[in-house]
Subunit: 340 residues, 6 copies
Amino acid sequence: MKKVVTFGEILLRLSTDRHLRFAQAESYKATYGGGEFNVAVSLVNYGMKAEFVTKVPNNELGNCAIHEMRKLDVDCQNVMKGGDRLGIYFLETGTSTRASNVIYDRANSSMSTLKKGEFDWKEILKDATWFHWSGITPALSETAAEACFEAIKVAHELGLTISTDLNYRSKLWNYGKQPKDVMPEMLKYSNIILGDIDTANFMLGLDKVDPDYQEVHTLPALYNEVFKLCPELKYMSTTLRYSVSASHQRIGGILYDGKEVFKAAVQEVTPVVDRVGSGDAFMGGLIYGLNEEPLDKQRALNFAVAACCLKHTIYGDYNLITKNEIEKLLDGDFTGKVSR
Amino acid sequence: MKKVVTFGEILLRLSTDRHLRFAQAESYKATYGGGEFNVAVSLVNYGMKAEFVTKVPNNELGNCAIHEMRKLDVDCQNVMKGGDRLGIYFLETGTSTRASNVIYDRANSSMSTLKKGEFDWKEILKDATWFHWSGITPALSETAAEACFEAIKVAHELGLTISTDLNYRSKLWNYGKQPKDVMPEMLKYSNIILGDIDTANFMLGLDKVDPDYQEVHTLPALYNEVFKLCPELKYMSTTLRYSVSASHQRIGGILYDGKEVFKAAVQEVTPVVDRVGSGDAFMGGLIYGLNEEPLDKQRALNFAVAACCLKHTIYGDYNLITKNEIEKLLDGDFTGKVSR
Amino acid sequence: MKKVVTFGEILLRLSTDRHLRFAQAESYKATYGGGEFNVAVSLVNYGMKAEFVTKVPNNELGNCAIHEMRKLDVDCQNVMKGGDRLGIYFLETGTSTRASNVIYDRANSSMSTLKKGEFDWKEILKDATWFHWSGITPALSETAAEACFEAIKVAHELGLTISTDLNYRSKLWNYGKQPKDVMPEMLKYSNIILGDIDTANFMLGLDKVDPDYQEVHTLPALYNEVFKLCPELKYMSTTLRYSVSASHQRIGGILYDGKEVFKAAVQEVTPVVDRVGSGDAFMGGLIYGLNEEPLDKQRALNFAVAACCLKHTIYGDYNLITKNEIEKLLDGDFTGKVSR
Amino acid sequence: MKKVVTFGEILLRLSTDRHLRFAQAESYKATYGGGEFNVAVSLVNYGMKAEFVTKVPNNELGNCAIHEMRKLDVDCQNVMKGGDRLGIYFLETGTSTRASNVIYDRANSSMSTLKKGEFDWKEILKDATWFHWSGITPALSETAAEACFEAIKVAHELGLTISTDLNYRSKLWNYGKQPKDVMPEMLKYSNIILGDIDTANFMLGLDKVDPDYQEVHTLPALYNEVFKLCPELKYMSTTLRYSVSASHQRIGGILYDGKEVFKAAVQEVTPVVDRVGSGDAFMGGLIYGLNEEPLDKQRALNFAVAACCLKHTIYGDYNLITKNEIEKLLDGDFTGKVSR
Amino acid sequence: MKKVVTFGEILLRLSTDRHLRFAQAESYKATYGGGEFNVAVSLVNYGMKAEFVTKVPNNELGNCAIHEMRKLDVDCQNVMKGGDRLGIYFLETGTSTRASNVIYDRANSSMSTLKKGEFDWKEILKDATWFHWSGITPALSETAAEACFEAIKVAHELGLTISTDLNYRSKLWNYGKQPKDVMPEMLKYSNIILGDIDTANFMLGLDKVDPDYQEVHTLPALYNEVFKLCPELKYMSTTLRYSVSASHQRIGGILYDGKEVFKAAVQEVTPVVDRVGSGDAFMGGLIYGLNEEPLDKQRALNFAVAACCLKHTIYGDYNLITKNEIEKLLDGDFTGKVSR
Amino acid sequence: MKKVVTFGEILLRLSTDRHLRFAQAESYKATYGGGEFNVAVSLVNYGMKAEFVTKVPNNELGNCAIHEMRKLDVDCQNVMKGGDRLGIYFLETGTSTRASNVIYDRANSSMSTLKKGEFDWKEILKDATWFHWSGITPALSETAAEACFEAIKVAHELGLTISTDLNYRSKLWNYGKQPKDVMPEMLKYSNIILGDIDTANFMLGLDKVDPDYQEVHTLPALYNEVFKLCPELKYMSTTLRYSVSASHQRIGGILYDGKEVFKAAVQEVTPVVDRVGSGDAFMGGLIYGLNEEPLDKQRALNFAVAACCLKHTIYGDYNLITKNEIEKLLDGDFTGKVSR
């Protein structure tokens, strides 16, 4: 079976309950998640084999993160223990006109103090066919960026498909470098990039900003600029998200293969239970879809959009949805009927 | 006062909280419900006298089910204790594009092992004017079907009005018989049947399937086929349910008296708190409405639809709504203003 | 800094969780709130100085109310301890077509047994520029009405701006007097009145009822009648509330300065977390807006409407929203995006 | 079957969870209880027939109290609806060296504003053999005392056995009379009085205070003084409670029949889950025991003590313990083994 | 590393919270456990490799049980999916003088309908050194007993050490056979038997009952009778449990190797958080201890007793305790100091 | 009124509920505490004026910490906002033989990155009579130690009484210095030191270790060595803690004034709700007691011990106990009776 390795940070998420504000919280729900881990969970749920590589502290919180991986059947045999702390983020989930808030408390985490050379990537990746990373790891610290780049290069040498979620987080990137200083070199190895065109341009240091990027007909020209800078690139993709409110989203998506633009129909999602990780759910759906045989690009995109929609109904960061449930949506059943 | 007797199974319902998936549940909310019990609760809430007849095990879970009946003022003087276990169902409540899931764990329950002759129906029904049963009981087991048929025949002999909710549950009917082997004989005694025309045709073994059954003008012809097979039939009725999503329903209803089709205006229900039991709420509203004097068929139907709508806002299986609250809706106040 | 003093009752609110009905409640969430207190909280959140004056019993519940004031940085230096009990209200929060219910249990509270002369208003108000009261206090009891009138007159003497929320509560006013017996004298000192025109007419004993009061062009004539009876009046204002359901509100607002009618665009609010106190949030926003320099009446109204909308997303009675969050809405960002 | 009627107030109890202090409570657990109601619940649990007579307001809180009675199978056919409010008490459960705290909020409750003549006692008591009241009702208000006395006299006329729990509550008795002004006349009809000798002397206006009342040999002389004032008295009884801490009690008991003193062995109870209602559990056990045939006074007392011990392990005011569970303790099994 | 395989049923445990009675439960905490699974968890926690073999239904509850195994790092590669339902048990946790109650609802579970031949034991056991089973599996059904015997014989052939916990459950054994009809043949292969001598005698059909079995000097004679019937037996062991109350246990233990009796000092455990699974914790500790090198029988027993004590402080069925924590107790530190 | 200023770190405490282990936690209770803050809370509860000085980040978690100070009426006018994060500690509360566990996550907190010169201590301390610090602040970082020393010297110059809790935390002191490198200079200004003699010797670099330090007669000689090194010292004090288990403590205390040893009687505390902060409760009680007039050293010590005992019954870090409640214990009432 094809095996995907994803690499990134896993965080303890502490979220207020029942849409309470931080100032009202007497307790926090504790779950674990992180962009690249969330992708691995999706893949396992769809029947693929996935491994997550990360570093967690050698304490009970690090162990809890590993429990979560094991419980979800994400291979964690190469997870390293060390460093000082598990990164944390506090989440206040918004609703209606009130936006969600995140307080990051992930500085000095085990993953952000990771250094090049700590993982034996040749060994780790030897049975894998796909490597996934995101723009979060290079945003953590200079050493984490280097450690990530090291993995990318090994993956490339070993001939793995490489996918990247740009995942720009403005509250990170605090170590003195900007995305455009770091990302262009790293993205040269990517075969698939997920992100809207503005973020891609920003991270690649392109000056172009698209005033109207959601118009399908303008996209190829813009995407082609990215293809020029990333010689291995085969696909660019992005969710199209129309935010009516914190509780009501309209979700579509685009996939471009260098020639043709595929576009998925927009779906209504209301109410939103948990929006965090919906991009990762899209990414997971897309990786799964692009691994199906025979390749059907439109269906792969539709699968990713449906996965993204369903993620909004799932509490926590990752997408606890089966392939069957997604396929039911692809077949047009949005009625939410009770099965009994 | 007129007294309605309903007969069926009461289950322990174990539902996940806050729209969590089964895989996320660390606890289950425990409530008690069942189609025919839910009807009895509705009737008591509207001021009628209602008795529920069932069999529960002689253990603390059986006692809890009886506590629930007593608390809600449903007469339980003839509830029998015996058998091995209380039936259970696990519920994962969906939201938005994600459907609810039910895991039935009701095999070998006290009610499904009930046998003909265990209840003294002549005694039980002697003060009643109405008997209600549903297609769930004959779906449980061959002996339960026989025990139900026995009750129906006594009710008929004693001149009670008999109402039936077809309630087809595909996950039941596991004992080797199909609805069409059992239901036609039993439905011959029904005066009122609740169910959509497709289900009615399926259960009666009619080959006709209506491609367009929600169109009022096509219904009389289809319903008349059912009337032919059910000589005592006076009314057929059905909810009209347009499922926008698991969180958004549009609810209407139809009542046909053999001559005229009554149709209630469609109401929006969003968000949905709990959809389970909304059909029972309709049934309860209809029985109540058809017992009001003077008889007003349109109003009876409207009452049933309003009851059904309000049920979607109530957590649990049965409808904790007063007659006044329904009548407020009938009078057109859907504004949800705070009363203070 | 300008300081606002608000005067009224603070209640223990006991509300059912998860939209449960009273009959289903095994526990009650405990919070504290009251119209005039809620206004003070809003003002502090926007950066103003606000003091709340009230009377609470000298027991642990009274202390809890004071803790809440302190926690929220509302000045409580003049809160008096005495009397027999803290007023309570029980709240069952509705949803969709089901309205919320309130059970008041506030008779004989410390505040309703307050008498004229207990507070030294000259001392209390000496550093204040604004005094706010509402129609709830005169509704509690004859002595509370007198105590309120006493405060109003001192505030007037000291030259404070006086604002009044009419806040008609039909379940109060049980002591033998009607609003029109009490309110006209008190409203003579008001500079700003919040309330719809029908309530204003009713409380002032005017016979006029507006059949079409939400039409902007008809308002000046109606408002002018109120201005005639209230010689100090400078502004009348009201929220415009279109209740689609208990879970879906459309919120607008009107401000009239005796010459010009300002109208704010209607905003959608769905789903509603907690509707209680949304009028107080409007009032707080308006007081804040009218204190900004330079005075911009349209912006003050818009600020009040945005504050009111956001309050619907906040659990509890008062509005835990910052000025920045409101201004983000004023700038047109209703998308509820996660900030990270 | 013998039927006991108990008469008194039922309260909404709002208690903090997990031994939190009032100042820490964000929610309150809601249960219903009251001394005389608790006695009725005990009797039903032991297989007797019991009716509770009270007055509750005609609102949802009153209905909830009635639901509780029905659920527990306590006959509530004569419960009256009316008056303004349900009495409330707030409970902070202590532990170890920290005592529990109670805040009463029961003034002006439906029961405390009850007046003589509202109940038709001849009708209510016609099928009863036993009437139970306690010193709480005459402590509520002058009219409640009169209404209670009226019931006592009818019970006496009809030849019922009358039992009384002295239940002195120092925070009540606020209406201008002291126990000794009211209780002596009422106690003249009592056949059984529960209370320690100091309380009995205090309520009867006797000057004697026993310095050493727990010494069995001194009791007959002291009790005989009470017997002189209460001509119908057949038994005095009291729990003997040695409080090691709020979490550790040692429970014994005494029964005196005018001739002989019976004393039950002291039992250890630790940890204490809920001490409230343990005296009522004793009273319920004693009434049950004295109704068993053949009469065995020592066993009746032992049954009462065991019931009292077990109550300390039950959350809430009343004793959810079966006769079998008590008898297991009487047979000496305190091991708390799991039955499986 | 040595690998232990344990074989038995895993159940969904639904337990009331905060010592509530079944009649008070509005929700149930859901955990998963079972005697032989609990043993496997202990071993993994102490650093050994352990696999659990069972059969669970192919539904979400079966999946949840597997999640639990994975999370705890218990090898579940041979867990079979099939059958109709996951066994359930309801638990009401007692306290002080009130005992815990269990309601078994495990009839017709996937494991109890398991048949001989479904597992390929030669394959499953090929890398194992130890096989553990208990008296629960043969108590479930005749086919489960046969399936268990099949596994035992293969384990014996392959030369594994075989341990057995007698685990007599009187509420099981409902299929027409008694322990003495089934167990003697099965126990012939056991190398280690855990259970008190009375249970051993009862299951082996021996008539001897020891009136004084906890006296060390009488044990060898009694144990030797068992050794005669079980030719492979090397050790008998038992916990010594003195139940002061449901909240207070005194725990010791005995190990007999056919020659010498080892006895561990009795430890106080109060308060008890969760007593279920404490015997399994002892068994797990003993297996671990007997696998340590060099063999130290007294220390192995002490380890088992300490593990058993600590289990009483852990919520749920299995023992979430590390080897270090047990060794701290063995070194005499019972002070419960905070480590910081 | 005398005013005490305390200086130190306030942490977000995230603790598991119901004695769950970290590996079982699905949520964490959030409270705020810290040794020196806890002392300030105690003093306010006893009627003194207390201010807490600290630095918290300028985010919502920092605001929550300030809310807590305000709610508890601890003066926070000089709390500084800045730095990167609020320190966190995770707590798993033990029970019986299982100890509590703490995971510190406080590196790089706002307080640990505080530098000398950030606070204007002359201004802050100008109205104070007492300054309290503990050994935690110098353990955080070199700059925090310097900042603390700066405050001490100003307090000394201004003539304040200075008290110090040695509070040795082995998991801190990670910045390259040991207590004996830092503390001796700082302790030279202390008038009162709280800590056992071993800790005092260790922190002062004394080689002496007392084999038997709890024997009163040996203490003066040992304490006198400390007095020699700390010229301003007037009192040394320590709790005497006999840990029976995590749930059962025996608490006494000693106070030495350079001449006389005072010893308080040992009190039983069982069960323990929350042991964290019990030393701070002792310290708070002692400061209060030594400020009472006329000075009664034995009573001051007794007050401190009683406060410490009662803290064990309070959830959270600080002592929500009134002066009255402590005095009730001093008067010998440990019975935990319900007050009603």
